[in-house]
């Protein structure tokens, strides 16, 4: 089931939610879940389609968040421009980190380590630099007007993040069907074989990294606008690096809807646990850690992957039935 239909259905369903649900608690939950989904959609481009597992996507989330916050707070730049600048800054960070890591030929564990290290360096720098507010952080001035990308109503925020998620879904869909995407997946499956077929692996991975970083940075920018407060632990903390990789893995790496499904599922489970066992710190991340292990152990292709497998088993293969083996009579 390829094609844009699933995306349209998912987005339409989500868009209809505020029509039936008016609870601020539920809306807030959904906004945060979609925010995480967006960050995950970014990770999915380089991690899912590209097969390069970054453990430091916080570097891009935080750069987006800080860029837009700093521009607004210190330079009075318009919030929308700041948002765009944040995405650009995130993309630039992706280009730098990607170029360094891929030029050095880093793969697998080493790539995970170096991305983790970059995120940590940024976190420490942000915790002491004056421009980021050092230990105190940055507060964006409350100004509930659309011009400042802030809204009185939570529903407006909801539609903004939903729009961003929808755009990211379309980007993933387009990548899947493009030559770039085919090459990216080939590099993931076997880089040497891909190169022998004319794929410039470095350029393909770098491009994927830039797109990935830009999308995750957008999530960071949105965070800044929604919560109006950014500090080094929020921007560059391991929490977002983990959630950004967790949601695609749970939902299904390398699929268009995976990060969205994963984010909704993970967040729902986390909230459910807090409801049952009380809102103590650490509970939701505990669940996420356990989920990560369980998904890898029992459903490595994630929820979407498992769903596709089940569909194949119940309704027959999307692939043609196996023909009787013929000797190749023709040359």
């Amino acid at each position: 089931m390829k094609g844009p239909a699933p995306i349209a259905i998912a987005v339409a369903a989500l868009a209809a939610v505020p029509l039936v649900v008016h609870s601020n608690v539920v809306l807030n939950f959904l906004v945060v879940a979609l925010l995480i989904a967006l960050a995950g959609q970014g990770w999915n481009i380089i991690g899912g389609y590209g097969g390069q597992y970054s453990f430091g996507h916080a570097a891009f989330f935080g750069t987006g968040a800080y860029a837009t916050a700093i521009l607004q707070v210190h330079y009075g730049v318009n919030a929308w421009l700041g948002f765009a600048a944040g995405i650009a800054a995130g993309a630039a960070a992706g280009a730098i980190i990607g170029a360094l890591a891929f030029r050095a030929g880093l793969r697998s564990s080493y790539f995970a380590l170096v991305t983790l290290a970059f995120a940590e360096v940024l976190r420490i720098l942000a915790s002491v630099a004056p421009i980021t507010g050092a230990g105190v952080g940055l507060l964006i001035k409350l100004d509930l007007r659309p011009q400042s990308l802030q809204f009185q109503s939570r529903v407006a925020f909801y539609f903004v993040i939903l729009a961003l998620v929808a755009v990211a879904l379309v980007i993933a869909h387009l990548i899947e069907r493009s030559r770039f995407g085919t090459w990216l997946i080939a590099v993931r499956e076997n880089e040497d074989a891909a190169m022998a077929l004319g794929v410039n692996a470095f350029r393909v991975k770098l491009a994927a990294m830039v797109v990935s970083a830009a999308i995750t940075a957008a999530a960071g920018c949105f965070y800044a606008q929604y919560f109006l407060f950014v500090d080094s632990g929020i921007a560059y903390g391991t929490w977002i690096s983990i959630e950004a990789l967790l949601t695609p893995i749970i939902g299904g790496v390398g699929t268009v809807l995976g990060p969205l499904v994963g984010a909704l599922a993970a967040k729902a489970l986390g909230e459910g646990a807090k409801y049952v066992a009380g809102d103590a710190p650490g509970l939701d991340l505990m669940i996420y850690g356990a989920m990560l292990v369980l998904v890898i152990a029992f459903a490595p292709r994630g929820l979407v992957g498992a769903f596709n497998d089940m569909r194949q088993r119940l309704f027959g293969s999307t692939m043609k039935a196996r023909p009787p083996l013929k000797e190749a009579a023709h040359g």
Binding site: E189, A194, N200, K320, K326, G331
Partner: protein, 250 residues
């Protein structure tokens, strides 16, 4: 020989203290099949890796279609028209057969529809027509070899480097794939094949180079090479040629 398509001139490669390839020189004309044989460990695959850009030679020159391509990376060589298969088959495991070939087809065709058409065509050409929708990892060894071939062919190469494409195939599978290779050559694609399956490579190749201990020790037509005592020695050991000549058959 008219202007060779591929020209390898005194290429050497050093691994630490070991000279894996020693001033190897060979040439392959366009549209013909050239064989590269030699005992195990002779350096054939290393030479291929150098020619196809996966290794840089310590010295020497590689020319393709008259241009010096020494040290160019694999993807650039592929774009020039040089394609290779791998000795240990490397399918894109998570993809279908068609999508595997698609990767190669995309080199010359940016649009997915056009590339898919090429992939289908090439898939049929190598005999995988009925398997196109199946996952690549469900293919048998013979199927995987054909897939390697198909992927490389989809890049519309002028020179095809085949690294032991017949290895692991049973005689009837070999019988079936040889005409495919011949047809590729008949289309005007130059082929250089590393092979251990003697009968096949002798019957397919017009010219053969023999590599032993990194050096080219013989070259010529299959008949010339088979009769060359140095070649016999390389395969069967020192003094074997004399023994065989003296009638001591083992």
């Amino acid at each position: 020989m008219a202007e060779p398509l591929l020209s390898v001139e005194r290429v050497s490669h050093r691994f630490g203290g070991l000279l894996a390839v020693d001033a190897a020189t060979l040439a392959a004309p366009p549209g013909r099949i050239t064989g590269l044989i030699g005992p195990n460990g002779a350096g054939k695959t290393t030479l291929f890796a150098i020619i196809s850009g996966f290794l840089k030679p310590s010295s020497g020159r590689i020319s393709y279609a008259g241009e010096d391509v020494t040290g160019e990376p694999p993807y650039r060589l592929a774009r020039r028209g040089m394609a290779r298969t791998f000795q240990i088959v490397q399918p894109f495991a998570g993809l279908s057969v068609r999508h595997n070939i698609l990767v190669g087809a995309h080199l010359r065709h940016r649009a997915r529809a056009a590339a898919l058409d090429v992939a289908d065509m090439v898939g049929h050409e190598v005999g995988l027509g009925d398997w196109l929708d199946r996952p690549a990892q469900t293919l048998t060894v013979s199927g995987r070899k054909r897939l390697e071939l198909a992927r490389a062919l989809a890049t519309e190469p002028k020179l095809l480097l085949l690294d032991e494409v017949l290895a692991g195939l049973n005689p009837s599978e070999i019988r079936d794939i040889v005409p495919v290779i011949r047809a590729i050559s008949a289309r005007g694609v130059g082929v250089v094949m590393i092979e251990h399956v003697m009968q096949a490579v002798m019957s397919l190749s017009e010219r053969i180079f023999v590599l032993a201990e990194g050096r080219v020790i013989a070259e010529g037509s299959p008949a010339q090479v088979a009769a060359d005592p140095a070649v016999v020695e390389a395969y069967l050991g020192h003094g074997a040629a004399a023994k065989i000549g003296a009638g001591h058959v083992h």
